[in-house]
Symmetry: D2
Subunit: 290 residues, 4 copies
């Protein structure tokens, strides 16, 4: 952990825009001994829009406990302005579960980077509807739970997963998990389930997008990472990217190239979520990137 991680806190705010918010927030923090070192704010309209804020502050000279800071911020600042907000600390890494089926390309990169300290998370468990990747996961000292899913047992399978996850994770990453989660499941983790869709949404919704891309002769293939909502493949987009391809690539080669884009897009989306850079705004996101 670097000095910076040890002392850095982050505040996210969404609220109706009106004059005085920045003054209120920054004066509150100043009065409690916090030094703001990065401040990124955006209003969706000049008048009557929504106010979005992400800031980082340094905590060595805080004059109160973390609990007191939260309570005071809630009553003095958040409540008067009708804020949705959260304060988090870089030193408290988020707990991340990974759900996976058989494709390991995204999973392995997540495990590998997390184990190296290259991704600010801890992974308490991996859940899969297949047993294939157990050895790869357990080698990292991480629990692997095999929960088979069939047409008949889907509700029970989700219930079992929810029991395993309960109280143990802050975010769930679907690293090519080939089962559709029920709205009921998703409702337990609103805007905290991240999916990678193997296509440049809104194009090619549905199965086998690389074959669709090949049949259509597109010159770029893409991938999209988004939060999961009750509406399949339609949740708020966090990140997208593309890769140039040509007529020389077979559908299989598009798939292989696409997997590299999927991995890259997923890594960015997960990293931004872990660093509290993403605010959901209806069916869209505000992402405060570096």
């Amino acid at each position: 952990m670097t000095m910076t991680d040890a002392t850095t806190a982050r505040l996210l705010v969404t609220c109706p825009d009106k004059p005085g918010i920045i003054s209120a927030v920054s004066t509150f923090l100043f009065n409690h001994g916090a030094n703001i070192t990065d401040f990124d704010q955006h209003s969706s309209d000049a008048l009557g829009g929504t106010f979005f804020l992400r800031l980082e502050f340094q905590t060595p000279d805080l004059d109160c406990s973390r609990d007191a800071l939260r309570n005071n911020f809630a009553s003095r600042v958040a409540e008067p302005y009708g804020m949705q907000w959260q304060i988090s600390y870089a030193s408290e890494k988020k707990r991340m579960a990974v759900l996976v089926s058989k494709h390991d390309h995204v999973l392995m990169d997540l495990l590998w980077r997390t184990s190296r300290g290259d991704m600010p998370a801890v992974i308490p468990l991996v859940i899969s509807n297949h047993d294939d990747l157990r050895e790869e996961v357990e080698r990292f000292g991480i629990e692997y739970h095999h929960i088979p899913v069939t047409a008949d047992n889907k509700a029970e399978a989700e219930a079992e997963a929810l029991r395993l996850l309960e109280g143990r994770v802050d975010v769930i990453v679907l690293a090519r998990y080939m089962q559709i989660l029920s709205p009921e499941f998703v409702s337990h983790y609103p805007h905290r389930v991240i999916n990678i869709h193997h296509s440049f949404l809104p194009a090619f919704v549905g199965a086998n997008p690389y074959q669709q891309a090949h049949d259509k002769g597109v010159k770029l293939i893409g991938a999209t990472s988004h939060y999961v909502t009750a509406d399949l493949d339609q949740g708020p987009i966090i990140e997208q990217n593309v890769q140039r391809v040509s007529h020389r690539h077979s559908a299989d080669e598009l798939k292989a190239l696409g997997q590299d884009v999927e991995r890259q897009v997923m890594l960015r989306a997960v990293r931004w979520h872990l660093e509290d850079r993403v605010i959901v705004d209806g069916n869209k996101t505000v992402v405060f990137v570096k």
Copy 2:
């Protein structure tokens, strides 16, 4: 005109794949004194696929006239292998008509680059359903024809355009022409009408894609250039590109950024067509890029 343009010819071939085609083509050219300086070939499958070829050859030592070369190639090589083919000469610039409505950003770049010799074409005329851009076009010494289009006169308007174009153009560029061409019109110029669609197809088909992109919160916007077929916005894709955007961009700003992508994509597609780099393969294209 450079030495190269003065001496360079190009051969495009599509035919069922079988052994011996390259040998037949290259031996024919060698025997007639042509020197092949760029040869790009692709078969869609190892067995039983389609054979696509683009090659450039140098003509200073040709032992026969251009007509004789065509006739001999047709009988000795093209016919036995069932080829679709064309030979063209870099020194014979293609004649390009531009159809436009009121947006001038693509048109101006085409006029400007063509006038500088930066785009290998001559533009005999521009046709528009509005009179707004007349002065801009005529300043380049190019005919400007205003053909108003209404719900009632569409057939007559297209007939007038066809009369103006007849025998005078090799390719038609729709530089944001906001009228839908009838299948009848398009049938006169198969795979020779190039459109720019202001979206990353197949996403956001239809009107006002930038507003759609803004509403959806996409992180990349794109543009697609394609040949026009009877099926609107669905012809073979020639080129696509994207531009990264963020929540800070309004729908208007997405439109402005998108216009730069449109222009860039259109310029590449038109250039590749003019340099005989595009072969249509059903609803797809093979593009032999540099």
Copy 3:
């Protein structure tokens, strides 16, 4: 001019970092009736670094004149914190001179976009050491001054240019101006002369970088836009970009492709300067991009 342009003001601040700056700035603006709608701040270090800020605020409810706002900000906020700062208004477009030699590709795009309202500037004059581009420039209703430069008259030529520019411009763009400006000239417009270097700096400093790139067989060519300082081609970098190339491109073709990158890079750098998005920090820049 949009509603937004009519009401938007911008504040840029650089100062030694310490707690309380954001509170002081935002409270000052709030107290004067300004509504902050975009706020982007960065500190170069968690402790003891430099504080950089760009913010936009809306002015309809300002309770004082622009002069009073400046004077009060200077005494109440800027002086206590040792700030370098500026307030500007989107409705007051910056005045931009263009210096050019014979290459017109960057110049034309600047003229064209400015005349369309696509670039927030006014261009009072263009100065060139050649007379070639006079007609193109004057057609836009812009003064064109031909000041020949020789080995002998360089000092006089610069003096004449300075007289023409004096009091009439806020920023000077070197749109492929092939003369080296003296440190004396540059000292009149510190961090207000923008150059485009036809290479990905720090590579290929000096003459004919495209031939150098071709000889070296690079796979990407680039361009760099930077502020001009006394140290040639070494001023603070504002923007860079690259374009993929291959062995099939001749040095001339690299040059043509490179000119498109140059134009794109220059347009972004100039736009960012015009929108007050660039703060110079020693030999580097902080660019608050959208």
Copy 4:
């Protein structure tokens, strides 16, 4: 192994350009029952240049042994035209040694992809001047040789490495190997040692390029993969790429982002070498990419 890999052979040719080469090559292959399915040829000049060719052919109907094909091609085609050439078979994967120090990010990706069949190579051994990565490598069932290198034993260390490599490898990848190989060592593997340089060459030659990039405030960082020659960091470039960065990134973060670019660039360069897509032309390369 796919059907295609089982039947695909590749021919690479470099020779002085003259008419008739393609005819001679393709007719030879046709006469021996080979079907050409991909043919990519380039001449460096219209007249008097160098001829470069990569082609793929299918072997099921070859009428002679591989040895006979080589011998006949040598005498009938290669010798008359003064060709440098090679025939290889996709089913004969190249043997690749990896030299590494302590950074594992490139190594791990090579091991992982090779073990999955995603990179067409076999890795008989890894050599390192440190013992740190032994466990990671041996887990893949690959020999790990620790050969410490000091100022005093460099010649002996290289001799030991050469003994280990002799007859066992076709290509050597320096996956962030922090020792400079002697010209003597390199001379055993001409154009078969691939290095990744953590910078966009020719910029920032030398140590700690990410700190240099940070100090200079560049807006893009890059990486370069090249063949190693006696001239350090100056061998023929195979591939380069860049990543956009900003003032918000510390030198450490530039390094982390740069490592992703390094890995991506190295993977492409190695893949292209393994697929016989690279021909060295003096101090440059011709790369026949998909």
